[in-house]
Subunit: 370 residues, 2 copies
Amino acid sequence: MRNISELNTSKRILMGPGPSDVHPRVLKSMATPLIGHLDPEFLEVMDDIKFMTQQTLKTQNPLTFVVSAPGSAGMETCLVNLLEPGDEAVVCIHGVFGNRLADIAERCGAKVIKVESEWGKPINPDDVKKALANCNPKLLAIVHAETSTGVLQPMEEISKLTKDAGALLVVDAVTSYCGVDLRVDEWGIDALYSGSQKCLSASPGLSPVTFSQAAIDVLENRKTKVQSWFLDLTMVKNYWEGAKRAYHHTAPVSAMFGMREALRLVLEEGLENRFQRHKKNHELLRDGLEGLGFEFLVEKEYRLPMLNAVKIPAGIDELAIRKRLLNEYDIEVGGGLGPFAGKIWRIGLMGESATTNHVNMLLGALKAII
Amino acid sequence: MRNISELNTSKRILMGPGPSDVHPRVLKSMATPLIGHLDPEFLEVMDDIKFMTQQTLKTQNPLTFVVSAPGSAGMETCLVNLLEPGDEAVVCIHGVFGNRLADIAERCGAKVIKVESEWGKPINPDDVKKALANCNPKLLAIVHAETSTGVLQPMEEISKLTKDAGALLVVDAVTSYCGVDLRVDEWGIDALYSGSQKCLSASPGLSPVTFSQAAIDVLENRKTKVQSWFLDLTMVKNYWEGAKRAYHHTAPVSAMFGMREALRLVLEEGLENRFQRHKKNHELLRDGLEGLGFEFLVEKEYRLPMLNAVKIPAGIDELAIRKRLLNEYDIEVGGGLGPFAGKIWRIGLMGESATTNHVNMLLGALKAII
């Protein structure tokens, strides 16, 4: 029989594409003894989380809530609730997560019109305009912060084009949320999902989601049932709002305690201060990495501060160095995905991991190794 | 602006239909600083959980893993991976969760043949036999422990009938797992899901799942893509097994730490001891409740030890008493669902909540109130 002793993990420094380091207050809150998922005190916790999620997303949307599963399930939530078989959906692809959006939209029975750009570059609004003009789009889906490439996608022009075409705007903000400016209402976003484990610095497993009134109208006028029972917002929303708060599934109580505390930390710091902190430490890291011979994948204008994608200099065994970083320094950085596997690193400066101490730890370790 | 202060919950005694009380060792493990979801140390945690889940389910199935979402998502995982549009599925319904199975199977595009029994009674194998004979069933789905009624469904005869019909046996063991005998391999179960928050006494949000080789064969011979990306086992399994351990989604690291410790506690106690403890405290509670004039909904032979469904005696305002139990004694018990709303209570004795102290606390409070 396998001998399984007490959990004994190394004290890692999380500088990959997420999860990020989690504040001790968040860890402590997850160790709070449980209360029931229909306890009036838990409904208060949900209301607190909803309110703080609205604040951090800069939205007044009443249908703002948390999916009881990771960001990928948040992505699926937005698409399965808005798409029906035969619908047309424009999906912008400039990395792994755009591809995932297209895959899910196809599984919903939608006809997917792809707008692609070279990985590492943002989507070109001219291409979006053409695609929207050549179909009857129910929605356009796009990734705000492409975690696989480090690209920050400008949103406002694409939002305007999408509205002009009469389509809903669906946005992946998994990595941007709480790390760079994100304005759901001002930018006209109709459905948005994120994750708990990036710049919010809660533990992974939850996905904040918001739906505009236009998105709710589409949901309420569906001709077919949502194909997922678990993600069906026509039912989930009755657990999050209204007088009766009907049972749907058992919410992840401890994870929600942690998310509540993580949101409190964000609002205590202030969103703008938090964005500045991410930017400042990104610049510090950038200067250090460039001094070591690393080159950024993405043009300066479109770089994510919290996800630094750098090319591996010639002659470096990237896997061996990442292993040394982990084994000798307890520092995790991410490798490349898909066509970038073995070619780039993805260095995260997210939430609690976006500190000068983190930058110095990594740069110091790299100087010693390389 | 809403004033949101530090989390300040009451110290509840959880005797509803789940979540149950969680051991301090499990709470403490969830407060462990995070490691990455692809960290070699986390892959070890996953292997530990897989091994202990196999032990507790009495199965050798290599495809034994944990869905990163609650039991309802585990239910959906089993059905979306095994069913394709046009398939025929026999679904046994003797409560809320049988209905949920039928609903999900229909959302998969399957033709559902329902076998029903009066709520509070088990499914009759004769009815199953007839249903299986009159269709071309790909699977039969049934709830082992119906949390909405307190019925323990005998499995062996129905398993034999299902096998004889050449169908897969899909079992909901959300409430039975770790509380009563459950033998996946011996009973010929092909796909099974449970939840973390019942007799395992981990925090809600995870769903242990196992697939037999016959179920894997069906999965691998699908003609269509699984309709859910998030729950698609053709991809999820590459994160749980094999040499490469490919990224699929970000696992809920802290919840998995907690589940690992909860499983360790189960194996330390021993499964048979744990079943005996549930039985003994159920009997103690039963005697006390009957002394107070409560009558059980379910015949003795089919009663679940961990979910005690009792009828509300005439003249009692059940909601008022449940409120007093919660507000004056911090004790949570569950109300009825669906047709049983207002008519029964569901008193849980699950995992860490299945103790003589819990029984005495509840009986003492009820004696004082009624």
